[in-house]
Symmetry: C2
């Protein structure tokens, strides 16, 4: 598409649309509308139509969207029609739960490398995957050409590890550490901190 | 404050400010500025001043913010100066990791009740906490007057459980199930789905 770049907030809603469409597909639904999609997501149909129109023409007036086709298009836009190999740093309780999570592979991601700094863990395995030393992480990530990483180390170690990840060529970091990390502008960071979400709700109680 | 309600997106940034301020406090920093806070968070100082001004006057021109005072004010606004007892539904791998997570208690939340539908789990304990039957969940939550819940059940069961939670008087749900749930407008829902965050980044790679 020519013109201005699509706002981040619009891109941020596309995975939500994809998730709902995949669920519709699992329910053997072949066609849907912006209205039905909006009802599922609590988003207005106008918003959905406007968001999707930024990337092309995916539906026909009056006949709606073909679910499988729109899934394919969204996967292409989000670049998850392929599987991304991901490095996971920090194999404590949280890291281990993340490593075991079965919901990544169907949606574009496979944890392909584990790193920890604890000598008692290095060399052991989680399922089939060897836990490597963070001391040799930069070389290991570079050698495999990984671009995506998850950070599940304690808050105080997060910045140092993030800098190593950037050095290794990582371009997208999902940060589970409850802290903000500073990385160059060309590296994307998203945060998972359940407490932030909870505190956002308690304000209203 | 009189006037229009503060937008959700502003309220959503307050927990981020609180987290950074607590870190500053841990570093024995007594005074800060919107500029320093912004540098830590990658948010403009103007945005931070504007957000905070919606709730009152917390700093003095030229002298900045007293860290401990602002922490207290933000905790009050977010209603986390007290500890919220939380119900956790679903004690699979993910639920167990959530139950073990040590980062809740310092920030306003304590997991106080566990529920699962698996007969093999009901009656067993996670740490000191008994796993109760989801069949008697509504009564149990009501009896304890819990208002906040976390949902860590598989996607397909999430809607049914959410409806029970609402029936039980829950007003805020943190949903770990990778799906959208529909609840009445007076009930708040926030979602934790790491894949949504990852897909949002891969678009840019």
């Amino acid at each position: 598409m020519a013109g201005a770049p699509v706002p981040d907030i619009v891109v941020g809603r596309l995975p939500l649309y994809l998730r709902a469409l995949v669920q519709m597909g699992d329910e053997a639904k072949e066609v849907t509308s912006s209205q039905q999609l909006g009802d599922r997501l609590g988003i207005s149909s106008a918003q959905i139509r406007k968001d999707l129109s930024q990337f092309g023409e995916f539906g026909k007036q009056g006949t709606g969207y073909n679910v499988a086709f729109l899934i394919g298009q969204l996967k292409r836009i989000l670049k998850v029609e392929k599987i991304w190999d991901v490095a996971l740093v920090g194999v404590g309780d949280l890291g281990r739960a993340v490593a075991h999570y079965a919901g990544f592979i169907d949606r574009g991601f496979r944890i392909a490398a584990l790193f920890d700094s604890d000598p008692a863990k290095i060399g052991t395995r989680v399922d089939d995957l060897l836990i490597e030393d963070t001391g040799t992480m930069v070389e290991s990530i570079r050698a495999r050409g990984l671009k995506v990483a998850m950070l599940a180390v304690p808050a105080r170690g997060a910045q140092v590890v993030a800098e190593k990840l950037v050095e290794a060529g990582i371009q997208a970091i999902l940060c589970y550490a409850p802290t903000s990390i500073n990385v160059p502008a060309n590296v994307r960071v998203q945060y998972i901190d359940p407490v932030l979400r909870m505190q956002q709700m308690t304000h209203y109680l």
